[in-house]
């Protein structure tokens, strides 16, 4: 399955690993923050709707 990378295998694989790691990290962080704020906002809106009638 793995292609033959020759003597540069370490370089190529580390480049892919680092880049994909950074990208996935950014995506996960963005999604997590989005979810957290969405929930927090929904909570506050519900609460204020209740108190304001």
């Amino acid at each position: 399955m793995m292609p033959e990378l020759g003597k540069y295998a370490a370089e190529v694989i580390s480049a892919y690993a680092v880049s994909l790691g950074l990208l996935v990290g950014l995506v996960v962080l963005s999604l997590r923050r989005n979810a957290r704020l969405r929930d927090a906002l929904r909570q506050v809106e519900d609460r204020q709707r209740k108190t304001n009638g």
Binding site: G6, Y8, S19, L22, R33
Partner: protein, 242 residues
């Protein structure tokens, strides 16, 4: 539908929630296809060996690193001129994405440089400009974080972005003047002679499309987050006042 409908937060939330899954899905598809194609099914370059496969990350990241700053510049101008909050928040949302792309370009370039030039780092103009670009991104993000009041932060970062753009261009020329480089020139030009061979070219285009779409998706998502953060803060403030 006018483009300015995006400036209304409510409309933006509606439109973006419909758009986001498509953009995200498409970008994922492009990235998966492009990267797998590039990594597994392209031959080695006769000079560079397998390291040529790094191009599928390096070039799209480098392109988008610059384009992200351009997008921030446009968004800042829109905020200054038309005072559309969504625009300012989109600029804020784009900065960390741009910084990540810059860092990816730098790191993959450094890894590539070791076998090709025999050094991790050289003060090549293009590399140097990217280092400076990374510093600009860091300063811009730090500025947003440092100012508490949203509108003040938007104003200050917009001014910074404008002035920074001028100096970024100036730095680019200064650096070119300062040192002739090792880095190859643009090889995606339309001139077929200079272009990389087709085997590398097609998967590269797919990867670039993937990065563009991914940038779009991330900016949409993060802008939604920022809008919610603003609203949340305002709601909590009102609660405290009452």
């Amino acid at each position: 539908m006018s483009f300015w409908e995006f400036a209304n937060p409510k409309r933006f939330m509606q439109l973006s929630s419909r758009l986001l899954p498509w953009v995200a899905g498409l970008s994922l598809a492009c990235l998966v296809v492009g990267l797998i194609w590039g990594f597994f099914f392209t031959p080695e370059d006769y000079r560079q060996g397998s390291t040529v496969k790094i191009i599928y990350l390096h070039v799209p990241a480098a392109l988008m690193a610059i384009n992200a700053w351009l997008m921030m510049l446009v968004a800042s101008l829109v905020w200054i001129i038309r005072r559309h909050h969504v625009s300012a928040l989109a600029a804020r949302a784009a900065a960390p994405v741009g910084l990540t792309f810059t860092v990816i370009a730098l790191i993959t370039g450094a890894i590539w440089g070791q076998p090709m030039w025999g050094t991790w780092w050289a003060w090549d103009p293009r590399l140097t400009s990217f280092l400076i670009l990374a510093l600009f991104y860091m300063g811009y993000i730090a500025m947003w974080e440092a100012v508490e009041n949203g509108d003040t932060a938007a104003d200050l970062t917009s001014v910074l972005c404008l002035v920074g753009s001028v100096f970024a261009i100036l730095s680019r020329y200064a650096v070119l003047f300062w040192n002739q480089g090792l880095h190859q020139g643009a090889s995606l030009s339309l001139d077929k002679e200079e272009n990389v061979a087709d085997v590398f070219y097609l998967p590269l285009l797919v990867c670039i499309a993937g990065f563009v779409l991914m940038f779009l998706a991330l900016v949409l998502l993060r802008t939604r987050t920022e809008i919610r953060a603003r609203r949340l803060k305002a709601l909590l403030n009102r609660e405290r006042m009452a």
